[in-house]
Assembly symmetry: D2
Homo-oligomer: 334 residues x 4
């Protein structure tokens, strides 16, 4: 018996999830959907045969909808997620959970008041095989406690509407969620350095940036964010521990011997890089839901990400080390 899903927001990422659920994954089925743009909704409906509803609330409250997938604009997320919690239905919300830490906190509070975990945030990297392999080694304890993380997040290039703060809110946001999960710690401070700027910079963009986060136990995390690196989509994560160092594998491509070089292709697109992770993420959401559970990144993780991003953006402006104070993780989310 397929689990029935209602989709709110059927733009690019929404449509991809609809296609995934309909044609690749097992056990889920889109029964209703909505979009502020009627053309979008129509085109999405034709992909999966779902009914078009007038509003997010109509989708959420439809009796043939067991769970909600929110893929609308970020600023619309909070309202839909709160309504889903109100309806007591599991809700998968694409990142960000909400555009302000305050709204994220409201969702956390609403979910805790409801007394049941319902929210999963769409941080798909936790489902990437490479990160999972690294986490398995770390959790195994063989190489001791983590002391430092060295990470890169490099994109080929970005458009002119991409501004300095988006290096945090659109780009490093993935590391923000993924890294604290990897090492099981919360962040305590944020700092941002601006190295020499690339000639490919735009007037409103400082690029690259070098971000430094520290954690409760003192782990130092550096993240090179370089969104006009020209050569590829390049995500690296190395964890330096007391007895060894582990580094996430590069995407697998053949080795080519050609014109005096041995070369291996690189990803150039985040969609290809994390295509498998998206599949595993949504399958995991469906499988857990069918057992009455919600797993994956929680509303608390969404809140942490928002607070940490705020501190990094503040650090971009101040040039100083900014504190990150979220309070301890509630037992509800442990």
């Amino acid at each position: 018996m397929d689990w029935r899903i209602g989709v709110i927001g059927t733009g690019a990422i929404g449509k991809e999830h609809i296609d995934r659920i309909t044609n690749k994954l097992s056990g889920g089925k889109i029964t209703a959907l909505t979009d502020v743009n009627p053309e979008n909704a129509k085109s999405a409906a034709s992909l999966c045969g779902a009914r078009i509803e007038h509003s997010d609330k109509d989708v959420i409250n439809a009796p043939d909808v067991d769970g909600i997938l929110v893929a609308s604009w970020g600023s619309a997320h909070a309202s839909s997620v709160l309504a889903a919690i109100g309806a007591g239905k599991p809700v998968f919300c694409e990142k960000p959970l909400a555009t302000t830490a305050g709204d994220c906190k409201k969702i956390v509070d609403a979910e805790m008041n409801r007394g049941k975990k319902l929210v999963q945030v769409g941080f798909m990297r936790r489902y990437d095989r490479g990160y999972l392999q690294v986490k398995e080694i770390l959790d195994g304890g063989k190489i001791g406690k983590p002391l430092m993380l060295h990470c890169t997040h490099r994109n080929m290039s970005v458009g002119e509407n991409y501004t300095t703060d988006m290096a945090v809110t659109d780009t490093a946001i993935h590391e923000i969620d993924c890294l604290h999960w990897l090492i099981n710690e919360q962040y305590v401070s944020a700092q941002v350095l601006f190295p020499r700027a690339t000639k490919y910079c735009h007037p409103k963009l400082r690029d690259p940036q070098f971000m430094i986060l520290t954690t409760e136990s003192g782990i130092t995390i550096d993240i090179e964010v370089f969104v006009n690196c020209q050569f590829g989509y390049d995500i690296e994560c190395e964890v330096c521990c007391e007895d060894g160092v582990v580094k996430m594998p590069e995407p697998a491509f053949p080795t080519l011997r050609y014109k005096a070089a041995r070369s291996v292709a690189m990803e150039t697109d985040w969609k290809c890089r994390f295509a498998d992770a998206y599949d595993v993420e949504i399958q995991d959401w469906i499988n857990a839901a069918k057992e009455g559970k919600v797993k994956g990144p929680t509303a608390w993780d969404g809140y942490l990400a928002a607070v940490t991003a705020d501190a990094l953006v503040k650090a971009q402006g101040s040039g100083r080390v900014e504190p990150i104070t979220t309070g301890p993780c509630p037992d509800f989310y442990k």
Copy 2:
């Protein structure tokens, strides 16, 4: 609307396919199954809720069965596949298509007489991302025509019931199918050398073996088959062309710096190594079937594999170069 599948043979591999179709893939559903062992059948039925039938013919002829998946013992394949062709239903048959070249030929003839492609043989390597990446580079033409292939097929170890000929029929059989697909050519000769034997050999097993196949245009393929290599499950494929060399990637694992070495884990189990390929293979079978098509390795490929394996086994005994004569590929299969 799910495509309805009947399964014949619910041993290890059969059960894996049932689990895959039921819990991971999209668009397929097991409605009926059978096994000579009633316990096997019961346990498989409980996995997927399918009805147990008394015989392969009952499964094949059931009105709620759209396609057949054959995963019984190799010697039972031919009869089931021929019956499925008789019923005009698509049939996915685990390798081997049949245990003799003669039986494979019967299937080819039956399918051609029926006038419609119905048979897909379960050579999953063609769905492995690494092989597909290599094929894409070869077909792209950038590095010219293939001249030589260097391959290894290494297993940790095998049981005492694994004999010299099984290095061909159970092990190299995967290379036999995959490599001629990779380079779009049929084989013309086979030779087998016996290097110095490992101390881990069994009385009835020569190990390692070094097999050499040549193709219509003269491409030379060498395959090291080493089934007690002790260190891992290690599948390599390098294609040396006129302007460059391409080599299939190693499975991706983190790099670990530890105790004076940088190391990367290796697969030790073929199931893990090709788990993704199995998923893609069966999903592809279902997707094609829903469009009224059969893709993937054909009955002709199954026949070629049988004839080639026969020549290699003969070469093991004769120490000579043995011819492989299959005749040209019928247009029906092109």
Copy 3:
């Protein structure tokens, strides 16, 4: 005709240079040596057949000595180097040039007053093939201007007498010299972060440390210094440029497939890691001297290293970003 060399200080590194010049390199010959420890001097003399002199001045002024190699304790360097300049003889001085920036400056001034370059400082990394390959790519311009450098300097372990400041003065000192040469820029600021400490720390040692240097044009350099990393001697240098990233190669060792891993050995000892660089360095010194020249790291480079190290040590204590002000490089040294 061999170039005649006098050696001041015949401890470990001094003896290695004597052996190198006597048994491996071409064109040089040790004619005189001295050491405060008579046993050391005797044992060194027996290696190469040189005469033992009573003091550094005797060596410097001996008529059969064409050039001086200083390998005494760091605190004795300045006096010997100044005397060699006074005598107008080329002098190779092991790092550090002097133990204070002030003494380094005296040597710079003395050499400029003398009007002839005579001093080469023993920063051997500039002669390492890997660094030279990276520099060649950077200087070639193909990947644009450097923006960031990510480096590691990891040692297996250090003794209890190794203190926090020595992470700068003994360890990072090599990066300090080598990196500004690599990118042709002087440093302007220094910062040191203390990540979570390893359990292998000693009471007087914070380990690891994360050092950040910036340059005139804004290039940001991060250096992980980790002297109890347990797993190897691991020197990495990656330069991130506008159009690409270049990373120094790992030392070459065979790939071993064994026990479910592909592994490559790592160096565990700095002497092995840079053995070739030492040979090339000293050979280069001899070859240049025979042509009446002095090449390699200059007294000015020695002075820069001292000033930069001072700033890093200050930053260890202050927790702040400390300025590095050396003034512009005199034309004499360009």
Copy 4:
């Protein structure tokens, strides 16, 4: 005190050795030289200040010549080497020792009659760090006995005067010497396969070739010889043993991330690839000679190489497996 060397033959390779001994290595000195071409001799003499002699015999018998380096045309080698043995002087002879197995045997007999090892053959690969690292692992025994070797010898391209047999006598000759040293065994059979020919073939050249040698204990060695591979000078050597596989490292170059690929440069020239090996080889010859010894590849090794090459050339023509019968290695050479 420098060891005094006379050089016979001052063409390309001769001049390189002269330069090496004069300007890079320690302990040796060219005192006399000769060449059939007076211009060559003059130019070589100006490099090192040596005296020009009229004939090889004059060089060999000169009282100020302690050892002989033969770098003349291959067909002139035997006569010079025999004369050097007659004079009781150590002689380093570039490969081949002689152009026929018969002449090689004469040298072996002459040396054994003289009762003292005097001859070193210029197979420099034994001095390559990569091969030495592989040998150390094999000799260590950790991965058990060798069973198979997979090797490649690839050149960018060759001129029109390079013929099919030269793939053995000029190219694979290096593997012939190096591999039996690596595994401490003599060869017993030779076979040559001709894969599909590259479009870059010349009329008198079959390219690539796939050579197979077997040894006393049954080890199977395959060597891909591909002299118009277009992409680089690529020497690979992998040894598959009972408990693991070891592969020689690739030459070390930086990793470049650029235009959607991670790439590492390849050597394109054998001189660069083995430059270090040549240095170590000649230094080792000088050092051993000063201790009254001759090490390295012996006259017997030169004889083995000639016999093995003959069998491979015969196998090129016959298409069959040809025996290699050298008889056991005399105790004198063990």
